[in-house]
Amino acid sequence: MKDFFQKNSVMPLLGNEAIVLGALEAGVGFVATYPGTPASEIGNLFYKIKNTYGVYMEYSTNEIVALEAAAGAAYAGVKSLTAMKSFGINVAMDALIPIAYTKPRAGLVIVIADDPGCHSSAQSEQDSRVFIENLNLITLEPSDPIEAKEFTKLAFQISEKFQKPVVIRTTTRSAHQTAPVKVGEIKTPTIKGKFIKDLKRFNTAPSIVLSQKRELLSLKKAVENYFKKTKLNPVIDGQLKSLGIIVSGVNYLYCLEALKKLNVSLPILKIDTFYPLPSEKIYQFLKNKRKILVVEEIIGLIEEKVRAEAQRKKLKTEIYGKNLLEPIDELNSERITEALARLLGKKYKNPASDAFKITKQNQINLVKRTPRFCPGCPYWSIFTALKDILDKEEVVFVGDIGCYMMGFYPPFELQDILLCMGSSVGISHGISQVTDQKVIAMLGDSTLFHAALPGILNIVNNNSRPLIIIFENGITAMTGHQPHPATPLQFKTHDGKAEIKIENLLNAIGMKNVFVVDPVSQNQILKDKIKEWFSQRGAMTIICRHPCVYIDKLDKAAD
């Protein structure tokens, strides 16, 4: 990994890799993250190059722990970054809100990666901008890898100038987009700091908190004025001056494509700063325009702000947005072309409609390829045992987030409920307490550490009786094989010193009937244990320990 980034060279980089480069050029010294698609490559790349560039990097237990660690380091004067997928912000929220009130001594950058269209997300289609806005967090939104690098660098500057955390919000199509990016200068970062006490800065006690909030709110105008002096939020000229587009993120690139398809030229206001929005620029853009289209994915948040601005300034401009672009699924140039065509009263025939029509006529229906367990995956053996031993109708199977989610698909189809990280335990407990049904919670090792421990304590404390099966493959497999607290030491090249034994943890909190089996070599014992649990009343935990076939291949298999 020597010279991964060669100075002055042009490299093809993913948006996520460009964020790493931007952070390195800004002098980041501390990185803490929990993996989650589409943000995982940020941590993966830092993990690979941390020694080369002298950056501290850790995979933390979950997103709130990672955020708190990054904030702590920034409070002590070291430039810090944390990155998470959309749902990560939900986990991190309790810390994120007060952190926004505090004033880090060094740059603190928080990357949040949403996944419109749910390409790699179960659970929900989340628009994390909803929270960002309510937290008054300065937020930049790049459209591609080139901006991802520049905006990340700028985010560190802004963070230090205003002494506030700054968010970089990406989506799948900016995070997983590749483009040529120029490498600048990377200096050796500072990784040692000193915490200097200052209550008003770091302590959100009741007597101080309201004045901190007042200060945070008052910053909005100052930041907006600062943005005016930068190249952010550019207006791109167009010929049809009475019309216009206001657009954010990768959608900007789709809009350029859509205008080409329709062979028209409209002025565009590209929103780079989701918070604070450039209200003065929005007003100047709306003024003298008859109609504008606001293009953004999922919720019409910018649209609402634009409407409010128009109303405040008593403008008559007609504002279109979610009435033409449904608030679901990702956008693309086709969807935007259709919306623009309606705005312009133009006819537009999708050039692909021929292919669509012909395949429909020929009744072509290609079978969807469902994901499956990798060849040699130990989880095969666990699901086979469950399927062989139990009557599916007599047991409630509660799933969780991880590779074992694939037990949902044929040939197993053993997953009745799936929500969020760690939820298998809490949901199983609730069902157990109000029914006589047999309930099984199925969760992985990384998920256990991430979010299920409070639920397990609750099961012990309230004496309920689900079977908890812990799928322990030693790695956070689904996101690309990142290490976690139970990863065997030989597979940890980072500074993690622990190899936590889950059975010791469960024994320590008083959980009864904890068994460790190798689901592959001791499959019969596993079956016997499942039978034993089924025939009795009472909780049981089976830790199915067998390493993932890719345990030592961080990020390799995706190639």
Partner: protein, 190 residues
């Protein structure tokens, strides 16, 4: 130019993207690529959009606008049909990775889907030839790249693509990959 690469996780699509990216950089083109590989290592469909030229806007190819579709798998290539038009060229590995719901998908199945739209189809025994000549099918992707080059389906120069290979594959496999790249031009059959 719009190149769509489709296949199943583990077939080297991301490496191919990297090679094309470096070739584009070498020749002074701008490019944008987009990839979806959330569950790729688990046998899911993977697709990579690769667009290059003087100026590229969207990182995604629009429906009907692919110039070249490189399929590592017959079914995954057929699935890309909505990105094709009468001028699209399909270059497809004559292979199918079976899965629980489908045990067979043949060359004829593929043609039934694609031929009503475009007749420009190359179906190549990339996996079989690599297995036979190079003792491993892992070179199938580079073989297809070499095929595309030898048939002038992509406008990059040979040394740009070789540069891409050198930049993208692990150093100890560069020689074998270049061998796979050069193989299609030496095979009479095509």
């Amino acid at each position: 130019m719009n190149i769509l690469i489709t296949g199943v996780g583990g077939q080297g699509l991301i490496i191919l993207k990297k090679i094309l990216s470096y070739a584009a950089i070498k020749e002074g083109f701008f490019f944008r690529a987009s990839e979806l590989h959330g569950l790729s290592q688990r046998g899911g469909s993977v697709s990579v959009h690769f667009r290059f030229g003087a100026k590229i806007d969207s990182p995604l190819i629009s429906y009907g606008e692919a110039d070249l579709i490189i399929g590592l798998d017959l079914l995954e290539a057929a699935r890309a049909v909505n990105f094709s038009s009468s001028r699209t060229i399909f270059l497809v590995n004559n292979e199918f990775v079976p899965f629980f719901q489908l045990s067979s998908f043949t060359k004829d199945d593929f043609l039934k889907v694609v031929q009503p739209i475009t007749k420009n189809n190359f179906i190549v025994d990339a996996s079989k030839i690599c297995e036979e000549k190079l003792k491993s099918r892992v070179f199938e992707t580079i073989f297809l790249l070499g095929f595309a080059f030898s048939k002038k389906l992509i406008p990059f120069k040979e040394n740009s693509l070789i540069f891409g290979i050198e930049k993208s594959v692990p150093p100890k496999f560069i020689k074998e990959n270049i061998q796979a790249f050069n193989l299609p031009a030496t095979i009479e059959k095509y």
